[in-house]
């Protein structure tokens, strides 16, 4: 079947993210700041937006009806939060770490069978259902970016512990305290969005399995406990980062199974 405009937008957006990742990694290896990453990612974001608009028009609903759409929407929200948070915190390297994740998600979406070639129009959409899907996946964008910040922390923490100061990566990584601050804020943002998503999910008309809603509530509890422990008792940066990455990977795996 012939590929539509949406597929081409997705292919080009994936290529831009790949270029961003490639140039970012290259400049880090050369010991330079990856100044262009934000531009590549902004281009990626616009093409993702184009894809979601076309799919949304085809579906006449929020384009979150198959795994491919969910993956692209997740990549879009990750890119959105990176563009909002990265430059504000002067975390240029966040883009270099985010871009490969976007490439992985979108490349998976491009696998045959993952993204419907001819999306069907959705009948009987519910505003609560639409809000639930859109806001929940948006929260995963924030959690994904928090996991990226956590990974950056773990890399820098290892370098500092091992006394490895040489190299472009060490020079370009933002300070430990800045990473932990942005990681914490992203988790709070994700939790806030997921709360709205779950409330909307509870209010939407239900037909069939509630497995994904139960999984979302379990994920909400996991992040809420993590943030509560951090606020009340305190958590070392390493534990916070490891839990953030682990909960994100685990929740992604659970949703993939569901």
């Amino acid at each position: 079947m012939e590929r539509g405009m949406d597929h081409w937008l997705l292919i080009f957006s994936t290529l831009l993210a790949a270029a961003g990742a490639f140039w970012g990694i290259l400049s880090v290896r050369q010991g330079k700041r990856s100044r262009w990453t934000v531009i590549w990612m902004a281009g990626t974001f616009l093409l993702q937006l184009g894809f979601l608009t076309v799919r949304g028009q085809d579906r006449a609903a929020c384009p979150l009806r198959d795994t491919g759409e969910i993956l692209v929407y997740l990549s879009w929200s990750l890119t959105l939060f990176y563009l909002l948070i990265g430059p504000a915190y002067r975390i240029s390297l966040l883009g270099v770490f985010s871009a490969p994740l976007v490439v992985i998600f979108q490349s998976t979406a491009l696998f045959p069978g993952v993204l419907a070639v001819s999306p069907e129009r959705v009948a009987n959409t519910s505003p609560w259902g639409e809000t639930h899907s859109a806001v929940s996946v948006l929260s995963y964008g924030a959690f994904a970016l928090a996991a990226v910040a956590g990974t950056m922390f773990l890399v820098l923490d290892h370098q500092l512990k091992a006394h490895q100061m040489a190299g472009g990566l060490f020079r370009n990584l933002p300070p430990i305290r800045e990473l932990l601050t942005s990681l914490g804020r992203l988790l709070w943002l994700g939790l806030g969005l997921l709360t709205i998503g779950i409330i909307a999910g509870l209010l939407m008309p239900r037909n069939g399995s509630m497995a994904h809603l139960i999984a979302a509530i379990a994920v909400w509890f996991a992040y809420a406990i993590l943030l509560l422990v951090r606020a009340k008792r305190g958590l070392s940066g390493r534990s916070l980062s490891l839990f953030t990455v682990a909960v994100f990977v685990l929740s992604l795996a659970v949703f993939a199974l569901i």
Binding site: L160, A166, I176, R177, G234, R238
Partner: protein, 336 residues
């Protein structure tokens, strides 16, 4: 017109010779005009820092100008004959290449240091204002500045810190970002602690706590640093609130043990803690580094990191000189 340079630096002359030729920043313009008059040439610039004094001149015949300048200096300063042995004499392209090396930090005591760029610029501006520069030296200095910038941006000549104090500051900034919100505790009021703490203060660290077995010494250092003195028995209490600990006591055994840090972890809410142990024997038990949020650096590690940075800079010299030669060839400067 030909270009020449007469100068002495930290490699060719000891400090007692260098200080005789040192020129204050506010006298650079007048000195440039004076030197040009002494050599009987229309253009002159005097560069003077704690490590060097150099006279750049443009005259009809470099060799003859050099002789006139040396004779003039000897007569004016009543110099002993052996003083001239400390001077280097460079003509035409060699003088231009030398200035580019100086501006790029390749001729500095600390290879690749950045301060020299501003110092040469200041010297040139002073000469320009005094009216002692013309087409030859104006072009030379302006080109040298752009070559210097190119060298610094296209190579890693200024990468890394080459002193223990700066390595410690870089690490602190890598952990805490801006140091203005960071609190520092100095354990042991030794000279090394003072120097390292001063580096942190110069980058914004504000709250300094000083503790020492002799409380009077602690008070004295605290006064100097604008901090507060703490009784030695109280350092564990202060550990709860600080971000950086600089330790350099003369104790024959470890002062800070893993259990001491474990005890304050909850109260600190597991915030990052940076230990700088510059004492020999070491003050901080190495097992402290096993705690998640602790980053421990002893004197050997800091010195090794500084040495690695120096070696990395050394490796850049060939590349820097290649850029300088290439740029000078392209520029085809008058007087060279």
């Amino acid at each position: 017109m030909e270009l020449l340079c007469l100068g002495l630096n930290h490699r060719t002359a000891p400090v007692e010779v260098r200080e005789r030729f040192a020129v204050g920043t506010n006298k650079l313009g007048a000195a440039a005009a004076e030197i040009a008059a002494l050599a009987d040439v229309p253009e002159g610039v005097v560069v003077s820092t704690c490590n060097r004094t150099e006279f750049y001149l443009a005259g009809e015949n470099a060799h003859a100008t050099l002789e006139r300048l040396e004779q003039g200096l000897s007569a004016r300063e009543k110099l002993e004959a052996e003083i001239s042995e400390h001077f280097y004499r460079l003509e035409k392209a060699d003088a231009a290449r030398h200035l580019c090396r100086v501006v790029s930090g390749l001729d500095s005591m600390v290879l690749g240091e950045t301060e020299i760029f501003g110092q040469v610029k200041q010297a040139y501006n002073a000469a320009l204002e005094a009216g002692s520069t013309g087409s030859i030296l104006n072009r030379l200095f302006q080109r040298a500045f752009s070559v210097g910038k190119k060298v610094r941006t296209e190579t890693r000549i200024q990468e890394g810190s080459t002193s223990i104090g700066n390595v410690a500051v870089d690490l602190a900034e890598k952990i805490f970002g801006h140091l203005k919100d960071s609190q520092v505790m100095i354990l042991g009021a030794g000279e090394m602690s003072r120097i390292t703490a001063q580096s942190l203060v110069s980058r914004g660290a504000r709250s300094i706590f000083v503790t020492n077995r002799s409380f009077e010494r602690a008070e004295e250092l605290a006064r100097d640093m604008g901090g507060s003195a703490v009784r030695f028995d109280d350092w564990q209490r202060v550990l709860e609130q600080v971000d950086v600990v600089i330790s350099s006591t003369g104790a024959p055994h470890a002062i800070i043990k893993r259990a001491d840090v474990e005890m304050v972890r909850r109260a600190r809410k597991f915030r990052p803690l940076f230990f700088i142990d510059i004492a020999v024997p070491r003050d901080i038990d190495p097992a402290v580094a096993e705690i998640d949020e602790v980053y421990l650096y002893d004197i050997d590690t800091l010195e090794q990191l500084a040495e690695e940075a120096r070696t990395r800079r050394q490796r850049q010299i060939t590349e820097c000189e290649r850029i300088i030669d290439l740029e000078l060839k392209k520029l085809n400067l008058p007087g060279t």
